[in-house]
Amino acid sequence: MSGFGNAFSSSIGKKFIMGATGIFLILFLIVHCGINALIFLNDGGLTFNIGAHFMATNWIIRAGEVVLMIGLLAHIFQALRLTLQNNKARPVKYAVNDGKANSKWYSRSMGLLGTLLLIFLIVHLSNFWVVSRFTGIPTVDANGHEDLYAVMKATFQNPLIVGLYVLSMISLCYHLLHGFASAFQTMGWNHSKYNGIIKGAGIWYSIIISILFAAMPIAFHFGFIQ
């Protein structure tokens, strides 16, 4: 075989795709969370709307959005393929299997956590992304920017949506707790000098990102920010 051969169809190549898209999504979440955290300035969303306006109009960001969608879909489809193959690799299940004796429940439940996140994403994208990109944001703020902040505020008056968001961020936290360090292991970055840093950074990243995201619907719903 020539060129890269079966680089991406082999089991290790498939891991590379999961890990690389995972790291890409981890980086995306930092940007997403950073801009969203502007709502906590509690200035009626003026600063946040500037950020949102920039993200919606800058062509580099818009091009990045396409890459993001491709990365996300690759992560999801690859995960589905891997899960189906892995189920086939053990056709007869154990009568007794003591998984907790040797691994973390969330490491064994990445598919379940990911599915919960997928359901969340569908709701989330229809709440905000579809509105800002397609159906249109109804009002503008004092600066004349589309008032995405007002859309958030209105959306998070619904307690069911708030509940779904908070539960989904718990799923996200556990998904990341495994995924962050796992991506490094997949990429071959397992080294005594870095393992502690990777593990620590993964735990802090997962917790901080999830708490910040979960705080947003809560803050709107209970009127902590206006």
Binding site: G5, S11, I12, L82, R90, V96, G99, K104
Partner: protein, 256 residues
């Protein structure tokens, strides 16, 4: 032979062959000594079965001292039972309590079909080794061992990888039935030494391709294999294999 005071209930997987379905069958055992090994306890069971005119339970074993990798029982949900860093043959009945119910199943993986009862066919591992787990050596007199300097840490890491006995507990416990720990150990033991360099990048590609062809699952880094491996083979080996695989596919001219 039974001289102890433990009474046990065993639930043992009985399966005639690869074509028929199996089931767990209950057996009562009395007067088991806590000093017996797990396999000796099975010997007692089999003597009873033979005396009753029933078929004994078929299970794999050879050295009974933890070095051959033949014994392979999935005991109460864990490969090689409840203790860390031991094989089934080195597990003793003192690790259980009087009155316990013990469930014993074979390794379960599509790539390890059941031959009979608790014996599975692990020749998939042999084919992975045959695909690239070798080095090329000139015939003639063996050269002086010290003519190739090897750093101590490197030699130790190679030795630790070479401790893998090919038992398959890593596959058995992995939720994906992945063979990554075994294959990475067999690749690392050669990749870490100068003698393994000529075939290094060809080897990793061939052995990984064979691993995939055998129908093992894909690794998701749960770490269960490392936790259950009787020889303490480290996940570092999997990371090394991944690095070598990437180098081979993306940077070496020799793509297999």
């Amino acid at each position: 032979m039974s001289t102890g005071n433990m009474n046990l209930t065993l639930k043992v997987w009985r399966q005639k062959n690869n074509k028929t379905a199996g089931a767990l069958v209950d057996y009562k055992l009395a007067e088991i000594s806590p000093d017996m090994s797990f396999l000796e306890m099975f010997d007692v069971l089999n003597e009873q079965l033979i005396n009753k005119g029933e078929e004994p339970v078929v299970f794999d074993h050879d050295c009974r001292e933890g070095i051959c990798g033949m014994c392979s029982m999935f005991i109460n949900g864990r490969p090689h039972g409840p203790k860390d860093l031991v094989t089934t043959c080195q597990l003793h009945m003192r690790s259980f309590k009087d009155g316990d119910t013990i469930v014993v199943e074979p390794w379960r993986a599509a790539a390890f079909p059941v031959v009979k009862d608790l014996t599975v066919d692990r020749s998939a591992f042999d084919r992975v080794i045959a695909a690239g787990g070798f080095i090329s050596v000139n015939t003639g007199n063996a050269q002086d061992a010290n003519s190739l300097p090897i750093p101590k840490m490197q030699a130790d890491a190679a030795f630790e990888a070479a401790a893998c006995i090919g038992c398959g507990a890593c596959v058995a416990t992995c939720k994906n039935a992945s063979a990554m720990l075994f294959v990475s150990a067999k690749i690392s033991q050669l990749a870490l030494l100068p003698q393994g360099q000529p075939e290094r990048y060809r080897r990793v590609q061939s052995m990984v391709a064979q691993m995939d062809a055998e129908g093992f699952g894909n690794c998701t880094n749960t770490g269960a294999c490392e936790a259950e491996c009787p020889k303490g083979i480290s996940l570092e080996n999997i990371a090394r294999m991944n690095r070598d695989f990437a180098s081979a596919k993306f940077a070496s001219e020799e793509t297999v």
